[in-house]
């Protein structure tokens, strides 16, 4: 650990402010709490919100996992893990089950998390209504008055135009029957994991300076119509070429040499485990 910096980099005053805001976020599920968001040595847009949350929570008893697009080896995830490791000396892991804190960009791990774990999501766009309204003052009002008609209209128009709701990732959800929330750019595949989960989800948008939360056992419903229900991505008969999984979110890779499409588990930690189990090795 670098002796020049405070434990977990942030000064205690910043941690305190973030901690107060986290508690408020948890008390009002799905509502975006504004916070000071001091600068990090990592650029804005690259996970500062998630990092600030992790640094405000983390302690020597934690075990940290950091993923990006589901992958522990992704360059930015590695970089973030290195930074947090430098300022805390914390144990790290690529195994979802062993982690107590998981910081993630754009995916929820395949293995269900327990109430001894916390998932911290990095958020680029905290405002679900931004698609229909650029002004923060106005979207604040809309949330305050639960005036979500314009978003519903947007979805309706989508269906009229495309016979489908065209939103892929960042699919808007209704939290605790009160707030429409942007779940961050996780694929639709991951949306059902938010509903009545065992684990606490914390969302950090550093650049936009917002924190929000979904406590365990909370109602989280993707927006849908009676006749146009929410659907997750379909992989049909595709399997992971590496471990053979049929029930995970898959990355599509196009081979340079053959032009063929192959598929691999996006959640590399999970893929490792399944493979190891098949090969009869401890993971």
């Amino acid at each position: 650990m670098n002796p020049g910096y405070n434990y977990a980099f942030l000064d205690e005053g910043s941690k305190k402010e973030i901690r107060r805001k986290i508690l408020k976020a948890v008390a009002i599920p799905g509502y975006q709490v504004p916070f000071g968001s001091p600068e990090m040595p990592v650029a804005r847009g690259w996970g500062t919100g998630g990092i600030q949350l992790t640094l405000s929570l983390i302690g020597p008893e934690d075990t940290l996992k950091v993923i990006d697009q589901g992958c522990d080896g992704s360059v930015n995830a590695v970089n973030i893990k290195k930074f947090i490791g430098r300022v805390t000396d914390v144990r790290t892991t690529t195994d979802t089950i062993c982690a107590t804190l998981i910081q993630t960009r754009h995916r929820i791990p395949e293995e269900p998390m327990t109430d001894k774990q916390i998932l911290i999501l990095q958020v680029p766009f905290p405002e679900a209504l931004r698609t229909v309204e650029p002004s923060e003052t106005e979207t604040r009002r809309m949330h305050g008055e639960a005036d979500y008609s314009r978003l519903w209209l947007y979805l309706y128009e989508d269906i009229v135009k495309f016979k489908e709701i065209s939103i892929g990732a960042r699919y808007p959800v209704m939290v605790n029957g009160r707030y429409i929330m942007d779940p961050s750019p996780i694929p639709r595949w991951d949306i059902p994991k938010l509903h009545q989960a065992e684990t606490l989800y914390l969302f950090g948008a550093g650049r936009e300076k917002r924190i929000y939360a979904i406590p365990p056992y909370t109602e989280v419903r993707p927006l849908e119509f009676e006749d146009f229900k929410f659907r997750v991505e379909e992989f049909h008969d595709k399997v992971c070429l590496r471990c053979g999984s049929r029930n995970t979110f898959l990355d599509e890779i196009i081979s340079e040499s053959t032009g063929q499409r192959t598929y691999f588990c996006s959640d590399t930690g999970h893929c490792d485990k399944v493979l190891a189990a098949q090969e009869g090795q401890p993971s």
Binding site: I22, V26, I28, P34, L57
Partner: protein
């Protein structure tokens, strides 16, 4: 206490507070933190929460007996500013009831409901036998679908006030209850209370 110790102790305390607020009704065991100078047992008991959450950027008030003394001590210990109940971000109640004053607390606005106050109660006991009254059934976010029944150590009068204040969700106040054995329970405004 060394600065380094304080950093670690407040981190641990915060994880307890977070667990409490995200699992309303669940009882969390807290570790003590020694005050730098001798204070009353009430303040010593609440000190971990106060040290973790309060600083010069927030306002607070004490409701109940020894109000002035409590406010002076807590201001010295944390640097937080003394305010009245309508402006305080944190309301400290040593006696498990506020004589109605809790209705003055900030509940936030529709645009910024998070500005509603946090109330820290010192209650007589969080863990009591089956016959303890009043018993409350809690439902809502953080609680399994079947709900949880608890004894919050607050009198019915106070519980009724909380229900009334939090009836217009998302406006409301969020509560932390701490008993002399350092047991902690959280009741955020999102929790629905049914008093038996």
């Amino acid at each position: 206490m060394e600065i380094g110790d304080e950093i670690m102790l407040t981190q641990k305390t915060f994880r307890g507070l977070l667990q409490a607020m995200s699992h309303p009704g669940e009882i969390i065991q807290m570790d003590p933190i020694k005050t730098p100078v001798p204070t009353s047992p009430e303040i010593e008991l609440l000190y971990p929460a106060l040290l973790t959450l309060l600083d010069h950027e927030v306002g607070f008030t004490v409701i109940g007996p020894e109000k002035k003394k409590g406010e002076t001590t807590i201001a010295e210990l944390t640097g937080a500013q003394v305010k009245d109940s309508t402006e305080a971000d944190f309301i400290i109640i040593f006696d498990s009831e506020s004589s109605g004053e809790i209705t003055q607390a900030k509940r936030g606005t529709l645009e910024y409901p998070d500005t509603g106050a946090t109330v820290i109660y010192r209650v007589a006991s969080l863990k009591t036998g089956e016959d303890a009254r009043p018993r409350v059934r809690l439902t809502g976010p953080g609680i399994k679908p079947e709900g949880i029944t608890i004894h919050p150590g607050l009198p019915s009068v106070e519980l009724d006030l909380l229900k009334e204040i939090n009836a217009e969700y998302p406006l409301g106040i969020d509560c932390l209850l701490i008993d002399p054995d350092r047991r902690l329970m959280g009741i955020p405004r999102s929790t629905r209370l049914e008093v038996f």
